[in-house]
């Protein structure tokens, strides 16, 4: 059975009038998408996510290579599968002066979809009671939901959402997250492009990371999180500065965390007893110790080479990190090279 989404050597170069070409996608090979799963498509701004999606939808022609959806070449024969694909590219796009129902009805008419489907999708996105309001009067969150309703009208097997959480407030993001999970639970394959890693982490089962138009890594969420770097433990102790000195002298890396009395120590959780022993020998007793959770953000920053440098040691006598230091310490990632990839059956890289 063909993969839902597949690209082979996909390359897209935008020619500019002043002559300098911009390579948006550079030889991208992807094989992804499974029914009932949400696949995150991640990359920094300008990494080629939207260009790839546009190639998949047949909106732009690749300079070379192939983009396929449900086994059909998107450039030549996307029309054969367009009825199985719902998509929102970048912003929700509808006719601003038309009501939600009018917008959906025009789309439904194009494909001969019965009007009863409009009621169904409006219910799904919870806009049934605002269906007569014009699109332009909607909040951004409502616009996003209406655009999803438009994509769902076809009852697609694959839903492609490009930056669905862009511009949404926290409540809107939470609604979007629930909506995406609901849709996936109906057996749909969903591709969500985003650079909001926390959101992706909460909603996706699988993740693909691209950067500068190239594939960096693809696999399950746990597999990708494995690239977050060396394990860390968080030590809670009353005299943080003195404890840090003891830990550094014992040959471990330790940095202050934004929380008072917390240190981030570069050590495997299995070896954390070493830390407690050294501290105890120095007459210091910790009030807490826990493993730091590996996050998708850390993995992403490591994999895309955008990890910020670790903060330097605080000046002597500093009682607590300043806000800036804290912010850095909070976002700090291990500088050690990523560990070997944990085993992940069926997860290509």
């Amino acid at each position: 059975m063909a993969a839902i989404i597949e690209t082979q050597g996909l390359r897209k170069v935008y020619s500019r009038r002043r002559g300098d070409d911009v390579v948006a996608v550079e030889g991208l090979d992807l094989t992804l998408g499974r029914a009932g799963t949400v696949h995150g498509f991640l990359g920094p701004n300008g990494s080629g996510k939207t260009t790839t999606i546009r190639c998949l939808l047949g909106l732009i022609r690749p300079s070379s290579g192939v983009a396929q959806v449900f086994g059909e070449n998107s450039t030549e024969s996307f029309h054969k599968v367009s009825g199985r694909v719902g998509a929102i590219v970048e912003n929700p796009k509808m006719f601003p002066h038309f009501s939600a129902r009018k917008n959906l009805s025009l789309l439904a008419k194009m494909a001969g979809i019965p009007k009863s489907e409009i009621d169904r999708v409006l219910e799904i996105v919870q806009l049934a009671d605002r269906d007569k309001d014009s699109f332009e009067s909607y909040s951004l969150g409502m616009k996003q939901r209406l655009a999803i309703a438009g994509a769902l009208l076809k009852n697609p097997d694959l839903l492609i959402l490009d930056e669905p959480a862009n511009g949404l407030d926290p409540a809107g993001i939470a609604e979007m997250r629930i909506l995406i999970r609901d849709i996936a639970s109906q057996g749909k394959a969903i591709l969500v492009s985003s650079h909001q890693l926390a959101e992706i982490e909460q909603v996706c089962d699988e993740v693909t990371i691209i950067d500068r138009g190239r594939l960096i890594k693809t696999g399950t969420l746990d597999y990708i999180r494995g690239f977050a770097g060396a394990d860390n433990v968080i030590v809670q102790i009353a005299d943080r500065d003195k404890a840090r000195e003891v830990i550094l002298n014992a040959g471990f890396e330790a940095r202050p965390r934004p929380e008072p009395n917390e240190l981030l120590v570069d050590v495997d959780v299995d070896q954390s007893s070493e830390i407690t022993r050294h501290l105890a020998e120095a007459g210091m007793y910790l009030s807490g110790l826990r493993a730091e959770q590996a996050t998708l953000e850390q993995a992403f920053l490591n994999l895309t080479g955008n990890a910020p440098p670790p903060p330097g040691p605080p000046a002597a006598g500093t009682a607590a990190p300043s806000v800036d230091q804290g912010a850095l310490a909070d976002g700090v990632v291990p500088t050690a090279p990523p560990p070997p990839a944990p085993p992940s059956p069926g997860a290509p890289s």
Binding site: R54, L57, V89, K93, F95, K102, L107, M110, G150
Partner: protein, 272 residues
């Protein structure tokens, strides 16, 4: 294809431009006729429906006052129809529903052609009705025979078709230049400046240009070519170049060329 045609037709008719522009023109016509009525009655004058307004039994000058307005209206409706998609980015959305671009463009061109023909035909009829009312109130409608009304009907139909062709023409030009404002401005400049210049300097070429042929087709008059130079002195004469039927075909040719050009470009354009 029928679903697509119906959807495109519905969307075109749902647009404010499609509904309000003709209504504004209708209001202007009404205002013009009311003003004409007061001018005529205040001057103790009268108007002859068949001879003054119609220009005789062939009714060729019946729609003279609105000949310029209807094609421009049609062009603007066609241009803004696709221009709205470009502006709102809706084209992306539509292409995920109908990725076959030639089908989409064809459906739109047909929707434009049919819709503008109906709209312009109705406006032309409205103007005839107003002119008839004016003549009844401030003059005479004597001489409006069956032959005269038959000619009026043909005139209205041809005017509608010419507007329909201009609507599709506007759509084609806008798709090519990818901007409704750009195409409308270029069209108005062409109408009032470029084609007049070409007519003045290259009269043999001018008889194949769209505006001249549209006017001839709508009014049912032959297209005439200027013989001799208006700048060089000497005799100047007008010689019949071709009939209004040929003029209609030439106009249709221009429209087809614009739509084909649009199809060629649109089919290759990145929608980003």
């Amino acid at each position: 294809m029928m679903n697509l045609l119906l959807a495109e037709g519905s969307r075109l008719w749902a647009r404010r431009m499609t509904r309000y522009f003709p209504l504004i023109l209708a209001a202007l016509m009404l205002a013009g006729i009311v003003i004409a009525y007061f001018v005529i009655t205040n001057n103790d004058d009268s108007v002859d429906f068949v001879n003054d307004i119609g220009g005789g039994v062939d009714a060729r000058s019946m729609l003279g006052p609105i000949t310029v307005l209807l094609p421009i209206m049609a062009f603007v409706i066609g241009a803004s129809y696709v221009g709205a998609d470009i502006k709102t980015g809706m084209l992306e959305q539509l292409l995920t529903w109908e990725p076959r671009r030639l089908r989409l463009l064809s459906a739109r061109a047909i929707a434009c052609l049919v819709s503008a023909t109906i709209i312009a035909g109705l406006l032309a009829l409205f103007f005839v009705a107003l002119a008839y009312g004016l003549s009844s109130a401030a003059g005479t409608v004597d001489g409006a025979t069956g032959e005269f009304w038959g000619n009026v009907a043909k005139l209205v139909l041809r005017t509608g078709v010419a507007a329909g062709l201009f609507c599709a023409f506007g759509l084609g030009i806008t798709v090519m230049v990818n901007s409704s404002m750009g195409s409308i401005v270029a069209f108005v400049i062409y109408w009032f400046v470029v084609e007049n210049l070409i007519t003045a300097f290259l009269s043999k070429v001018a008889v194949y240009l769209p505006i001249q042929n549209a006017n001839a087709f709508a009014s049912g008059e032959d297209v005439e070519r200027l013989e001799g130079s208006i700048f060089g002195g000497g005799d100047v004469d007008f010689i019949v170049s071709h009939s209004y039927i040929t003029a209609g075909l030439i106009l249709a040719g221009w429209t087809l060329a614009a739509v084909l050009g649009a199809a060629f470009i649109f089919n290759r354009r990145d929608i980003a």
